[in-house]
Symmetry: C2
Subunit: 77 residues, 2 copies
């Protein structure tokens, strides 16, 4: 099973959701990507279907958008 | 660690998210509650902070709202 990827942008709701996801799935099974600090990965996230953050990309390629935090437009600033 | 609870209402986006969550967390660690078929549990879900489905209640009491499927008002029908 490949890793999940948790995309976020550092907002409070993102950090809270991140902790929950890491607790549930296990830190070794999820990569955390901070799009605010790592804007070069925004195109990748958008291509994969991320429409808002926080979002979880599952190993099978589905994107689960979690508690609405910020739109990708906001992240791009 | 106590179980998570996944609340949904049978909509296509719910079923898709359910499969992802079960795959990620493990079937033994999440209880699935279909609020459309089990309306008596709607007050419990609302009290816990569920505002839309699908939603995941984590063992620490946080509610993660996933891909927006249906508002609780729609579920009550």
């Amino acid at each position: 099973m490949s890793k999940s990827v948790f995309y976020h942008a550092g907002c409070p709701v993102c950090v809270s959701a991140e902790q929950d996801i890491v607790d549930l799935i296990g830190a070794s099974k999820v990569e955390i990507v901070h799009l605010g600090e790592n804007k070069s990965r925004i195109p990748e996230a958008e291509k994969l279907g991320v429409k808002s953050v926080p979002a979880l990309l599952t190993p099978n390629g589905n994107v689960l958008h979690l508690n609405f935090g910020a739109s990708m437009a906001d992240v791009k600033g």
